[in-house]
Amino acid sequence: MRIAIMGAGGVGGCLGGLLGKAGNDVWLIVRGEHLEAIRANGLKLIRPDTEFVVQVNATDNPAEVGPVDLVLFTVKTYQNRHVITTLKPLMGHETSVITLQNGVESHEQLGAVLGPSNILPGAYWASSHILSPGVIGEDVPAQISFGEIDDTDSLRSPDIRKVFRDAGIETEISLDPLQVLWEKFIILSALAGITSAAQTRPKELLKYPDARTMFCNAMEESLAVGLAKGINLPDNLVQDSLKYIESLPDFQNSMHGDYEAGRPTELEALSGAVIRLGKQIGVKTPVHEFLYSVLLPHKDGFPTAD
């Protein structure tokens, strides 16, 4: 399959490496030092049990790639405004785009520019990072879930799933991808906002009963927004999600890491989206409004006053 990966950072790079190694015609669309290194030395993937180098195409210019069968959209959400229109040269008559971003708005943002029927909303669970230019480290193997927005049986989804599975990527077709996206969003928006504002890892924070309450309150808010929007979400989601967070090993949330390092954050796609969507539909979101108010100054990296 001819596949373009827009944004070959931790997640995109890892998927691109695996799909390339399995013999697909993979193009990574990247910039700067990372691009130079991939062109010169190929893409190196370091996994928990193995490591390899794979030769894949890489460019910073989608027009050089031309139409593909599949686009994986894996840039950070704050880049969407600039990046989405640059996808147009990749679109042919039968091109599908899987959005693999945090938040719940990507498929609509891409659909508005590229046509809603071309978009397959997806979610991923992974932990992988660029270790150095051209080198990706994968701590937790990526799992992907995607599907059609209108939950129809799709002809293209099983083909795509086969390509992923043949590359060793655990992949599932969801009949309700928005439900999957929202379940992830409800947990992630609370985790990212609270641990960034507290500048503490989840494990440390969850020792405190008040912090557990705040996690639950934040998740209740986004759950209420999702339910009001007609997303099919289970009633016991908040309690189950808290148990899930408590079951995780010690880790740092990625937005907290970006915040700490003074990099731009995905605040708008997380707490920002909870507030925005809540306003649209008349649901109050005081916890996320509070988190947003203290995190906003760091949204684009270190505030100039620092």
């Binding site: 912090a211 005081p286 916890v287 108010s293 203290v294 760091h298 006053a305």
Partner: protein, 314 residues
Amino acid sequence: MKIAVMGAGGIGGCYGGLLAKARNDVTLIARGAHLAAIKEKGLQLIQPEGDFTVAVAATDDPSQVGPVELVIFSVKAHQNSIAIPLIEPLIGEDTTILTIQNGVESADELGQDYGAERVLPGSAYLLSNITSPGVIKQLSLVPRVAFGESNGDRSQRAVAIRDSFCEANIEAELSDDISKALWSKLLYNSPANGMASAARLSPRDLIEYPHGAAMFRSAIQEVANVGTAYGIPFGQDDIQRAMDLITARPMGARGSMQADLEAGRPLELEAIVGSVRRIGRKVNVPTPVFDMLYTLLLPHIDGSPESRWTCASG
């Protein structure tokens, strides 16, 4: 006047240095490198309009000082459980304890050990830091302080202390409603320090953001609601005044708790943020913003959770 300053940091050191320069018999109670530097070279005070060094007695052992006329109690509020018993040797029959700590609970805490009649509640209005051991930099143009008897009386001792401060070029004001004065400081100081700590941004920089300003207003409203239910009535004009005070701060000027947080030091979280929430619960007033501030900052109360193991001595 024979004076001991318990806690000669930015605030206590500034008042203590000025009182010593005005020929009061001052002893600074301090510790560590700061104490050693003061003993060796005196205390240097850098003011906006010039600086001076004053030779002043200093010790870490109050029993060497003995009873004094005035104790200025200016340690960080989170040190009270250790610092309050330590001042016992300073207390004689006619000793007054002037507390200028953050929060509204300090006089009660001191009163429990030494009798409420001995304590003069007060409030410092002063930005001032230790810049290096023995050196204190006063950022406010004029060091100000307000204090008064809890019952509002214009007592002889309060007047005498006020006069000593004024002679030392400290703008001292006798308040006939010191509770209102303390709560009025809490009204802007708790939101300013709490929000700035959670945002890791100076209060003035944060209030420039419309979302930040809205959250400041909610936080100030919560303190006003708690104060009003507690018997210190606040109106909309008080809330606007608190907003204006935060807006009038210099850009980049960090709150003291924010500075402690960013340096990984213990926080005055209980006195500054916890008090609003605690008193709110007593008088049945919800404090959702302060609950969240408290929750987010609690892991840092004894210093950074990341570094707690390596710098337990602070």
